[in-house]
């Protein structure tokens, strides 16, 4: 389905792409498809809801006191509010104009504060296509144009036909490919030069993308593994079946996806729940209030309730996982990885290969039993603070892949990397001693001593128990923590009950810190910390010589390779 506006667009001079859809809209300004009214309305409702979330308790209390929820006045009020939002949506729709002309995207938007955005194609870093659920039946899409990686600078073309969105993306991204051979040439020159003293001329014309190009070059022989491509010419790297997503829902707590959305209905839900329980003859007040039942009965009830609660949580979590990850695909288009998923709202997160700072493979204890891994590709953490971690543009998640798939995917992103390995340099046992002395000893002595002093040995027993658990956590943490470098990558293994494997390229490091306390110096131990754009990674209590060598090697790598971290 195509909107009349775009269909009536004048024939453009650049019809480089073979599609029937004309990307260029010509000189004239375009309106959006009317479905944008729905988008604008919902957006302003959402904005108000976010702003007014603190007022909710007050409003609820007022509503309860006056008790006139059912009265016509309230309904009238709600209708009036809705009409206000709807008309603001209509006004926003009429105030929004855009055109795509002469390799520029231009947007006029805003009602009171008008804004004008002019984006040349070559400044657009990424084009995302999102499908809110109310767009999907009508074949419309929301196009998000990312520039230079800063979150504030993204432009949205709110409602265009899906085919147009795809054509636009193709053309904008084609702009990047045209410049690619040039970059590659530059980087080849650079590589030949790095052994020698670099001349000023080259250094100043140094182009950032050498890493991405290198990755692609190495990947090309691996890409035989992935034969499947989609309609946009992207190589499909991974798909997640419903089974995989259900496993993900069980092994990871995705409860908040749904619970967060359902927050306004909690009160009612609890009301209905207790009514329902009362019907079944189970009265919570009776259970707790009166000593009519034996303790084991009470325990049994509690256990059953706990089980029911956990089952409920698991179901909600699976629902949340399906909601976000349904129909998950990870694909590659040139130097870009794209993740698409979503049950109602189809969402898209994409990341340039060269921007990936760290691969982290995370396994919780349940993941370890089921041999599944959550794989994350992490990029610059300072870009765009998204509240939604799973949709954040900083991390690209591949949920619950098998261990072999995790290896395969991490080798796709960082060729020849080997995350699961046995030669990790483990950290010193003094790590345990340090935490026992610095963290555990004083609370333990104080707590246990207090118990003995006031002659309540149960307190002492409790403190001892908690301390023992903490001690075992410290021991596990010591046991997991390790680092190894294979010349090309640095691998870090860490975790407590679960395990995280991290892998990064040393030349992407921003800063290196070696830390040593007076006591560590005496024992010839040191902590080394690598600051990457995605965050800091530190490995404590390494042998001093090893830590220094690692730090020196990484610095040498950064300063001699002189490659960009982006």
């Amino acid at each position: 389905m195509a909107s009349p506006e775009v269909e009536t667009a004048k024939p453009s001079e650049s019809s480089a792409q073979g599609k029937a859809v004309k990307v260029d809209t010509g000189e004239g300004w375009r309106r959006l498809s009317p479905i944008a009214i729905a988008y604008f309305t919902l957006r302003s409702i959402k904005n108000m809801a976010q702003g007014a979330i603190y007022a909710v308790p007050a409003i609820a209390v007022t509503a309860n006191i006056t008790d006139n929820i059912q009265s016509p006045n309230t309904l009238l009020g709600i209708a009036a509010i809705f009409i206000i939002f709807f008309s603001s949506g209509v006004v926003s729709f009429f105030m929004y104009r855009f055109r795509v002309n002469n390799q520029h995207v231009e947007i006029h938007s805003g009602v009171f504060s008008r804004s004008y955005t002019n984006l040349p194609f070559w400044r657009i870093q990424n084009v995302k296509i999102e499908l809110p659920f109310y767009y999907r039946p009508f074949g419309f899409a929301l196009v998000i144009l990312d520039t230079a990686g800063s979150a504030g600078e993204e432009a949205k073309i709110v409602a265009v036909p899906l085919a147009y969105a795809h054509a636009l993306r193709k053309q904008v991204l084609a702009e990047h490919q045209d410049s690619r051979p040039l970059d590659a040439r530059h980087s080849e020159e650079e590589h030949q030069e790095t052994g020698h003293q670099q001349t000023e001329r080259h250094a100043s014309s140094y182009v950032n993308d050498s890493n991405a190009v290198a990755n692609i070059a190495v990947n090309s022989d691996q890409s035989k593994r992935y034969l499947e491509t989609n309609e946009d010419g992207e190589t499909i790297l991974n798909r997640r079946s419903i089974t995989d997503i259900v496993i993900h829902g069980i092994t990871n707590n995705r409860v908040w996806i749904l619970l967060g959305a359902a927050a306004p209905f909690y009160d009612n839900a609890f009301g209905y729940l207790s009514e329902w329980l009362a019907e079944k003859g189970l009265q919570l007040n009776q259970l707790v209030g009166e000593q009519t039942i034996a303790w084991w009965q009470f325990g049994l009830y509690a256990f059953v309730m706990l089980m029911m609660a956990m089952a409920l949580v698991a179901v909600i979590s699976i629902g949340g996982a399906l909601f976000t990850f349904y129909d998950y695909t990870l694909s590659r288009h040139n130097d870009r990885y794209i993740r698409r998923s979503g049950l109602l709202n189809k969402q898209e997160v994409s990341m340039r290969a060269s921007r990936i700072q760290v691969i982290s493979a995370k396994q919780d204890w349940l993941d370890r039993i089921l041999k599944r891994v959550n794989l994350y590709f992490e990029q610059n953490a300072s870009i765009g603070h998204s509240t939604n971690e799973l949709m954040s543009p900083n991390r690209l998640i591949v949920p619950s892949v098998t261990e072999d798939e995790a290896d395969e995917l991490s080798q796709e992103v960082m060729p020849q990397s080997k995350i699961r390995r046995s030669d990790y340099q483990s950290i010193s046992k003094r790590y345990i001693l340090h935490w026992v002395i610095a963290g555990l000893s004083i609370p333990f002595v104080v707590g246990a001593g207090f118990g003995i002093y006031i002659e309540h040995l149960d307190i002492t027993a409790g403190v001892t128990f908690v301390s023992a658990i903490l001690l075992s956590v410290i021991v596990l943490r010591w046991w997991r923590w390790g680092v190894v470098s294979d010349g090309k990558y640095i691998y870090v293994r860490r975790g407590r009950i679960g395990v995280d494997y991290l892998c990064f390229e040393p030349y992407k490091v921003q800063q290196v810190v070696v830390k040593q306390s007076v006591f560590m110096k005496r024992r010839k131990l040191a902590t080394v910390q690598f600051v990457l754009a995605s965050g800091a990674i530190s490995v404590p209590f390494l042998p001093e010589g090893f830590a220094n060598e690692l730090a020196n090697n990484v610095l040498f790598e950064v300063e001699s390779k002189r490659k960009s971290w982006m």
């Binding site: 810190v513 040593q516 754009a533 610095l555």
Partner: protein
């Protein structure tokens, strides 16, 4: 700007810490623990200690003023606590002073052809190294007291985020400005 002019910028004897670490082969990589470290200005310690004294003095004065004013009556427990409050402030001030007395002279920095390093810490000593290639921007920070003393802090920002800002505190303004100029003129930063 060319490298030769960079070096001219640092012909000053104060910055003899420059050691070339560019044209070394893999076999003899530059070593962090062989850095030629330079102490920051001794005035930094003086400023910090007098600042501690100033703050402690003002706090004690405020407490005393509240205690001995005659406009309104203080609750009894507060009056009783007054000597303890004064002693507490004094003890904290002394500890803080002692810390600065011993820790501040240990803050040292070094500049190499390709990176900046800073060593600091009394009990927990850290040596951080910031490659100039990764610098995004540089700032000179000067508070009112540091301005009086002719000192400045050099802040170097990388993509590592705000918590990992590399900062050399308490260096002379001229030195800080020359360091900043060196970083800005560094071909890796100016080429961007």
């Amino acid at each position: 700007m060319t490298m030769s002019s960079d070096n001219e910028t640092f012909s000053n004897a104060q910055l003899n810490a420059i050691t070339a670490n560019e044209n070394t082969s893999a076999s003899d990589k530059p070593q962090l623990h062989q850095l030629n470290l330079e102490a920051i200005s001794p005035r930094y310690r003086v400023i910090n200690i007098s600042l501690v004294f100033g703050i402690a003095f003002v706090l004690i004065m405020v407490a005393s003023a509240l205690r001995y004013q005659s406009f309104f009556a203080l609750p009894e427990p507060l009056v009783a606590a007054f000597p303890y409050i004064v002693v507490g402030i004094s003890v904290l001030g002394c500890l803080w002073t002692t810390y600065h007395f011993f820790a501040d002279p240990l803050i040292k920095y070094a500049l190499r052809e390709q990176d900046l390093s800073l060593q600091s810490g009394l009990v927990f000593r850290s040596l951080s190294c910031q490659p100039i290639l990764r610098v995004q921007h540089v700032e000179l920070k000067r508070g009112p007291i540091a301005r009086l003393a002719g000192l400045a802090s050099l802040q170097v920002f990388s993509a590592g985020g705000a918590t990992h800002t590399f900062e050399i505190p308490g260096i002379e303004v001229e030195v800080a400005e020359r360091l900043r100029q060196f970083i800005l003129d560094h071909k890796d930063v100016s080429a961007k």
